[in-house]
């Protein structure tokens, strides 16, 4: 009941967002993403959120970021967090480290979410080898609960560490309905991704 109510409310928000607030990502042609750290090609039209959390991140959505959120984190170097800290001193975020291995990436995402978004429940699921932009990488699944709406969201992420920098693509949507609806489109975008040479 909570889930349905919250989704309805979110849908209203998403629909009332002025069209001019986002730049569109048109399907079929490679787009520069996250300041050129990636190139990616979509199969449908996405909205590029104008507001990003820091210079390494770019977020795409179809219906609003609470319903489907595809985030790219491009070339995050050692010593930097995934996103800009909301308060560097009081809520510092975990940083990418030089010694970081692929199995550490899910934990970095979890710790970032717990601090930046006050997520109390975050569960990491399947983690397996994968490629991102032709590089050896990791694919992992997770779920989390945002206490703001108590909706459970499902996540699927791909990451690679290249030249000492972390490249990460995450997709999140409510576990009910939305995740399954857009998963195939997201996987095809991930397949199209190339990293900045």
């Amino acid at each position: 009941m909570i889930v349905r109510g919250a989704c309805a409310a979110l849908l209203v928000l998403a629909l009332t967002t002025p069209a001019g607030a986002h730049k569109l990502v048109e399907p079929g042609s490679p787009e520069k993403v996250a300041d050129g750290a990636f190139r990616a090609t979509s199969g449908t039209t996405w909205n590029r959120l104008q507001q990003s959390e820091g210079k390494y991140q770019e977020v795409w959505t179809i219906d609003g970021h609470k319903l489907n959120r595809l985030a790219f984190y491009g070339g995050v170097p050692a010593g930097k967090p995934l996103v800009k800290e909301r308060d560097k001193k009081r809520d510092p975020l975990p940083k990418v480290t030089e010694s970081m291995l692929l199995p550490d990436v899910p934990n970095l995402v979890e710790r970032t979410y717990r601090t930046q978004y006050d997520i109390p429940i975050f569960n990491i699921g399947k983690q397996e080898p994968a490629t991102l932009g032709g590089k050896e990488g990791i694919r992992f699944e997770y779920t989390y609960v945002d206490p703001g709406d108590e909706v459970e969201r499902r996540g699927e992420a791909y990451a690679a560490i290249e030249g000492g920098k972390l490249y990460l693509v995450t997709f999140e949507a409510p576990s009910l309905h939305y995740f399954a609806r857009d998963a195939a489109e997201v996987r095809s975008i991930v397949k199209s991704v190339t990293l900045r040479p």
Binding site: M1, I2, R90, S99, R111, P120, Q127, E128
Partner: protein, 393 residues
């Protein structure tokens, strides 16, 4: 039994408090019924809210843990009083407990990790229960959904870090209710009466606040920011300061002069099945120094158990500076030495070694991890770091 309190309609029993010693507790009405329109409205809203809490994704769906917390409440306030209370443990790694006017008590897992004895847990639960018994939520007109202390308990960290914790997302689920300073002190003092009458020592109430201040100081030091504890509340403060509370609770407890077993050993014994999960959540909060403080404080009672060594190893491993990896490796090995050889220990140790450049030694432990848990959700990923496994695949 959705509404035990309402179900007991009309049964207005007056309890004198079991075998009251020197200072009898105030009379308590069992099966209390809301009396006024305001109160009935508040109760039915709280009942509605309770339904959503029951099915909430945040709830810890573990009967044993919920029952244990309730048991500590009952031992603190007495079984007659706790009869009408339903306890719900919520999976939120921050220090808080709340109580709604209909008898629904919510306890966050972060409180369970921070209490150091049944008496300290009882002190917090007793304080919440005191708001309920004194019907504070009715007296304050700001009541909207539930009587809660989200501000009280998060204020400590907020003060030390000078953060406005009211903006925290956690406060959304906490409550929309704020008590005033006089009510807080009243609840503190009645809570102290419960403890004094119980088998627990009332001195533990002051210790709760002392420990919270110490943790906040540790966090602040770790983050290189100013510590701040004031002795007296300012004009606009809704709560007494934590220092003030630690002080008057100790003074009152000395006046009572009661003693008792705080139940530290029994507390950690009861908590042990859930402790690894509570520690894991804490470690992932990215509060290195605050977590170190908590681990040390638990170890002061239980000694450095395998679980604590493992948690401390993870703390260093996740920070991941070159020196941290040496510490992490050592701590994992120490955990194994005390008989804590969980698959997660093998995994953590193996990865720490690989990161330190000791690939073949690391691979040995990762192989042990895969042997222990061949179906692990990350098995195929970990095989990448075990050379012969990789080629065999």
């Amino acid at each position: 039994m959705n509404r035990p309190l309402l179900a007991a309609a009309g049964a207005l029993l007056i309890s004198t408090g079991a075998a009251a010693k020197e200072q009898p507790l105030p009379p308590f009405t069992l099966g209390y019924e809301p009396q006024t329109v305001d109160e009935r409205g508040m109760w039915s809203e709280a009942d509605e809210w309770e339904k959503s809490v029951k099915s909430s994704t945040l709830r810890v769906d573990d009967e044993g843990l919920n029952a244990y917390v309730r048991e500590v409440l009952c031992k603190t306030v007495g079984t007659d009083r706790c009869d009408g209370v339903r306890v719900y443990v919520l999976n939120i790694p921050a220090f808080n407990a709340t109580m709604s006017p209909n008898g629904m008590m919510m306890v966050w897992t972060g409180l369970l990790l921070r209490a150091r004895s049944e008496a300290e847990l009882g002190a917090v639960l007793g304080h919440e229960f005191a708001h309920f018994e004194l019907r504070h939520s009715l007296k304050g007109f700001q009541a909207r959904r539930s009587a809660s202390d989200v501000l009280a308990w998060t204020q400590v960290l907020g003060n030390a870090l000078q953060v406005d914790t009211r903006n925290s997302q956690f406060s959304l689920i906490g409550s929309l209710f704020r008590f005033n300073r006089e009510q807080e002190k009243e609840a503190d003092l009645l809570g102290l009466d419960y403890l004094a009458q119980s088998k627990y020592p009332s001195r533990s109430a002051s210790e709760v606040w002392q420990h919270l201040m110490e943790e906040a100081d540790a966090t602040a030091t770790g983050r290189k920011i100013k510590k701040r504890h004031r002795y007296r509340a300012g004009f606009f403060d809704t709560h007494p300061t934590e220092l003030d509370r630690a002080d008057y609770l100790l003074e009152q407890s000395m006046a009572k002069g009661d003693t008792g077993d705080a139940g530290a050993a029994s507390y950690y014994a009861a908590l042990s099945p859930w402790l690894p999960k509570l520690l894991e959540d804490q470690v992932r909060l990215n509060d290195f120094a605050g977590t170190e403080y908590l681990l040390n404080s638990i170890a002061a009672t239980t000694g450095w158990t395998g679980e604590l060594l493992q948690a401390r190893a993870e703390l260093f491993a996740t920070r991941g500076n070159p020196r941290d990896l040496i510490t992490a490796t050592t701590l994992y090995l120490n955990a194994i030495d005390v008989g804590h050889s969980r698959p997660a220990t093998m995994r953590g140790l193996g990865l720490s070694l690989v990161k330190s450049g000791k690939r073949s030694e690391g691979a040995e432990y990762l192989r042990k991890y895969l042997e222990a848990e061949p179906g692990a959700p990350d098995a195929s990923l970990i095989r990448m770091y075990v050379p012969d496994e990789r080629t065999a695949k």
